[in-house]
Structures are given as C-alpha cells and as structure tokens.
C-alpha cells in the first residue's frame, strides 16, 4: 500500500528572544492511502504543529529546519506558497477545533462550500452549488436545499462541524488533517461526528490524520496511532497493540492513567512530573526524568524509533543488539 503522506525526520524550530527552541525534533511517521492515523500526546507535545507544518500553515517565526514532508512521494515542505495553495484543499484538507470560528459569519454556508469547489475543480458555480447540496446531505444535514443559503450562526454546534467536514471534503482531497475536531463539541455529539468523518473518508478513500488528546476517540476510530512527547515521536503502531501492549514507558503511563469501567483501581495511575518545556528538554531521552524504567544510557543518548513487537518505540529498552 503506497503512502499518501510520509514525514522524514521533520524538525521545526522557533527563534525567540531567548534563543532557538526546537518544537519538533526529527518526527517521522507515514500514513497509507485510506488509513486513519491518530496522533496523540499532551498539550504542547507538538501534535498541532505537525499538522500545521504538513499543510504549510506554520505560523512565523516558526520554520521547518530539517527533514522532509512527502505527499505521494513528492516533497512539499519546500514548495513556494503559490503551489502549496493548490495542494491545500485539493490534495490535503484540514479541519480545526472550533466550528463556530472556522466559518465566516458574513457568508452563507453554500457560498463558502461552492467557493472552495470552484477554486479547485473546473466546474461552474451552478454545478458547484449542486455539489454543495450533495455534500451537505452526505454530512447528514436535513433540508440541505434550504439550509445551503443559511448563515453559520443559524446552525447549532454539531451541525456547524458537519458543514466544516463538508468544506474539508469539498475538493476531494486524499488526506485530511483533523486537529481536535470534536473537542469543542458536546460529548453526546462527539461520537456522531467522529463516526461521520470515518464513514465519509472510508467512502472516498481519504486518509485521515486525527490529532487529539482523547485516547477514547483514537481507540474507536484509528487504524494506527502515533504517540508524541516533547516534540518527538515516542511510539508508533497499530492501535490495538499500542493501547493494550504499549512498548514505551510513556505510552504505558498514558494508558494506565485512563480510568476504565472494568478496572478495579483505588487510585488513578499518574506519571510523576510534567512534560518538559521546550527550552528545558533533557539530554538523551526526553522522558528520562519521569521514566520508571530509566537506565544510565537514557541520560546520554537519544533513542531512535526502533522495532518493538508490531510497533516501533523510541526507547532503549528495545535495543536488542546492546541489551
């Protein structure tokens, strides 16, 4: 299966008043066509930055300082803005967290969808409008033919996110980067939206990069999952394996801290300490101050992603050669 997206040692830095901060440090993973890959981690781990870099919307002064981003085999991280614009929407779509602020309040929903279609596909405005109605229907909005002329404020929160999904899929992209698509929604609607996203993408063969801090969503939806920590990848693997048999101590801690209805624990498992700030990342493995299985080597050398069962983990525990 060919890869729709491939990140090779992607590094992003932020020059600040007090020095250069490395926000992403050699992040590598890939997404196959039609696959749903979850990207999890705490706030500040670099998940959103990775998404922003992929669609070329990294906010200055942040900049890519190393590595490559490959879309279906060709490099896109160094493209001029004009070409990148053509890729956005048409080949890579994006969904952001807050559906209320993602839509322009002064234009109707139909105008915004049709505009996107017309920008990328060689169709007339009338055809685009028809397609927009189809999209709205596909995302489960009732009476689409009337509601297409409504303004965003006339929709409820869940409805708006459906519109946003319709907008992201309008130009039929190959990959969707979804950054916390359900965090701003009511819990009762979250499942519906995730289900919708998954179904539509499967129908169109669109791959999804689902960025979230909610493991529950990942468990339900993703095929594989990438665990990020302090701007680095800690573990990558099939969802079932990573959740039930985590290979990186951080992932174990993450899984252990999620309360389960079946568990009979007295207290929640906690990982001591906190994720380091970007200007204070420890030498060697970034997790070494908090790791319950830390070894002397962890303080000196930074581990690369190495095979560990059916996953890959950046942990010296799995270094079979020098065990």
């Amino acid at each position: 299966m060919s890869n729709v997206l491939e990140l090779k040692s992607l590094s992003v830095e932020f020059p600040t008043r007090r020095g250069v901060l490395k926000a992403l440090d050699e992040v590598s993973f890939s997404i196959a066509a039609g696959e749903v890959v979850g990207v999890v981690g705490e706030s500040g781990a670099g998940k959103s930055l990775t998404g922003a870099s992929i669609i070329g919307l990294l906010e200055p002064p942040g900049r890519i300082c190393g590595g490559e981003i490959l879309l279906e085999g060709r490099r896109i991280d160094q493209l001029p803005d004009d070409e990148m614009r053509r890729i956005r929407g048409r080949e890579i779509g994006a969904i952001f967290q807050d559906p209320l602020t993602s839509l322009n309040p002064l234009y109707t929903v139909g105008q915004q969808i049709a505009e996107t279609i017309v920008t990328h596909l060689p169709v007339s405005w009338a055809q685009a409008r028809e397609r927009a109605i189809e999209l709205l229907e596909a995302t489960g909005i009732p009476a689409a033919r009337e509601r297409i002329d409504h303004y965003p404020h006339q929709f409820s929160g869940g409805m708006r996110q459906r519109v946003v999904i319709a907008l992201a899929l309008a130009a039929e992209p190959k990959l969707i980067v979804a950054d916390e698509p359900t965090t701003a929604l009511d819990v009762s609607i979250q499942a519906q939206i995730i289900e919708l996203l998954k179904r539509l993408c499967r129908e169109q063969g669109t791959a999804v990069m689902l960025i979230t801090h909610d493991m529950g969503v990942i468990a339900e939806t993703a095929d594989r999952v990438v665990v990020m920590y302090a701007g680095r990848v800690a573990e990558v693997g099939p969802v079932r394996d990573v959740i039930h048999a985590p290979r990186h101590p951080y992932t174990s801690g993450l899984m252990g801290s999620i309360p389960s209805v079946h568990q009979h624990a007295e207290r929640l498992v906690q990982i001591d300490g906190a994720m380091p700030r970007l200007n204070a990342i420890p030498k060697g493995c970034a997790f070494n101050p908090r790791c319950p299985q830390v070894m002397p080597r962890c303080h000196l050398e930074r581990p690369e992603l190495m095979p560990a069962g059916s996953s890959r983990a950046a942990c010296w525990l799995h270094d079979k050669e020098n065990a």
């Binding site: 614009r85 890729i87 322009n104 002064l106 609607i189």
Partner: protein, 329 residues
C-alpha cells in the same frame, strides 16, 4: 428589527431633549437676557415689560416648552453680536460647512481605506512603514498647524492656491455652492485636505488594525487551509469582515469632521458655521452658541441612527436575531 428602530428613535429624541435642556439653561440663566437686549441703562419699566413679553415670568417648565417648540422650528431669537436672526445666520453658513465636511470625509475614506488595507497586507514593506510613520505624524499635528503649513507652502511660497474664503459661489435656492466654479474648487482644496488629514490617519489606523485582527481569525486560517486564492481571502473574506466595524466607526467620525470644521474654517476664514460658532464663543453670543449646539446634536443623532441601520443591513447576524439555532445536530 422594527422594535429596534423604534427604540433607537426614542433614544434619539431623549438625547435631543437633554441637549435642548442644556441649551435652554444656557439661554435663560447665563447672563441676563433682558440686560443683554436692553443694555445697562434700561429703566425698570422697560425691563418689566420685556420680561413679560419674553415670557420670562412664566414657570420654567412652560418656558422650556416654548423653547423646544421654537427650537424645533429653528427659531432661536436674535444673535447678540450681529442682531440678525440666528436661524438665518445658520442657514447662510450651513452649505459652506457641509460642502467642506463632505469633501474632507470623502478624501479621508478614499485615501484612508485603501492605505489601511495596503499596510495591513504588506506589513513589512518600506511603503507601509513610511505610511505608518506619516500616520503617526498626522495624529500628532494639530489641524490648525497643518492648515498653516499648507498655506505657507502652497499660498505664500508657491502661490498656487488661495488661502482665504470660498471664492466664487453660485446660489441655488437657499443653498450656495462653490462646486460649480473653478474658483470655488481652488478654494476648496487646501481646507478640505487640512480637515481630512486627522480623520484620514484615524481611518487608516483603524482599517489596518481591524484587518490585522481579522487576518488572525480562525475562519481565515480555515480559508487558507482550503486553498483559496490570496485574492479571495484578502478581498473576499478579510476585507468584508473588516469593513463592517469600520463602516460604523467611520460614520460616527463624520460627526467629528463637522465639529472639527471649526478650526479649519478659522484658519482659512471659510464662511461656515464653525467660524460663526467661534466668533460666538469669543463674544459670548449665547443664542448662536445654543443654536449651534442643538444643530450639531441633531446632525450627530441622525448620523448615529443611520449608522445603526447600516449595521443591520451589513451584518446578517443582526438580521435574524443572534443565536437562533437551526435545530437538530
């Protein structure tokens, strides 16, 4: 929406009445109208008669009622300085001020908005920095100084443009216009530019900061993520969202122009209401001051009302009533 209009109208009337009250207090109690009209040497007999004639012995409320009635018809009595009817004085001067103000407002908008958009889109260019520096200067230069400088350069040194008065005007009905003669236009240039400069810089900075704010919004980020062209994003989305608050604030500033005309008219001896007002203040000509106050208040209130209505037209969120959910999930 109907309810909204009615409410605003009631508010407007309220403001007008309070201003009228202020004017009334000025009229009646600041200085003694009788002494003002008859002079110091009038006999007691004359005073009593005049008091009665002017209705000054009636209760205050009745006097106020008469005052408002008269004011609504534009009747403010006689100017203390010139002896003419205040209303005819104002009528004479109104066209001059209005033409000047509109010209200035036009310049401020036509130059200010595009420049504001430009400096927001091209933040780092040298032209943007130059424009911003100029705008800071514009805010720091008092209007009268700008006028003086312009006169110095264009009238005294270069001799290109006149610096005094309105030039040749044409009378149409009760309106006199300077727009139909070349001389009139020449006379209009310097004062209009002077008056517009302060508003121009304000509009420029406002448009710029609004646009910068809008460009940071999530829906712009989403528009970029959808691969819309720069032109569509900047002029289709960002500009439209910028202009909505700008329209309203600019409309309100228009009132400021009419008031600031006072200074410009003084510098250029432009025969408008502003010059009249200043002369009234210098002379303590209360009737003229009171009348000017009421007229200005009226203009302001009308402008505010129009601006509020404009907001309604432009922003769809206000039309439907905010927060109406479409129902369903």
């Amino acid at each position: 929406m109907f309810a909204f209009i009615v409410r605003r109208l009631i508010q407007a009337v309220g403001v007008m009445l309070s201003v009228a009250l202020l004017a009334f207090i000025l009229f009646q109690y600041v200085g003694d109208p009788v002494t003002i009209m008859l002079g110091q040497d009038a006999t007691e007999q004359d005073r009593v008669e005049l008091r009665d004639k002017l209705g000054l012995n009636d209760p205050a409320v009745v006097q106020f009622y008469h005052f408002v009635l008269n004011a609504a018809q534009g009747e403010f009595g006689l100017s203390l300085r010139q002896g003419q009817k205040v209303s005819s004085l104002l009528r004479e001067r109104l066209p001059a001020t209005l033409e000047l103000s509109f010209a200035a407002a036009l310049i401020a908008l036509v130059v200010g908005v595009p420049l504001g958009v430009y400096t927001a889109l091209k933040r780092r260019g040298w032209l943007s920095q130059a424009v911003l520096a100029f705008s800071l200067l514009g805010v720091s230069l008092p209007t009268f100084l700008i006028g003086i400088l312009l006169i110095l350069v264009f009238s005294v040194q270069l001799g290109w443009l006149p610096s005094y008065g309105r030039g040749d005007t044409v009378k149409i009905g009760w309106w006199t216009t300077g727009l139909l003669t070349k001389d009139g236009w020449l006379h209009l240039i310097l004062p209009a530019i002077t008056l517009s400069l302060f508003q121009l810089t304000l509009v420029l900075r406002l448009v710029r900061s609004e646009m910068l704010e809008v460009l940071r919004a999530d829906y712009i980020k989403f528009a970029r993520a959808r691969g819309l062209t720069k032109r569509a994003i900047h002029f289709g989305h960002a500009l439209k969202n910028t202009l909505v608050p700008v329209i309203t604030i600019t409309g309100l500033q228009l009132g400021g122009i009419i008031a600031f005309a006072i200074v410009t008219e003084t510098v250029f001896q432009w025969p408008g209401m502003g010059l009249l007002f200043i002369q009234a203040v210098q002379f303590a000509d209360i009737p003229v001051m009171a009348a000017y106050l009421c007229l200005i208040a009226l203009i302001f209130v009308v402008i505010n009302l129009i601006v509020d209505l404009l907001y309604f037209v432009v922003d769809p969120r206000l039309r439907a009533g905010v927060g109406r959910s479409g129902g369903g999930h």
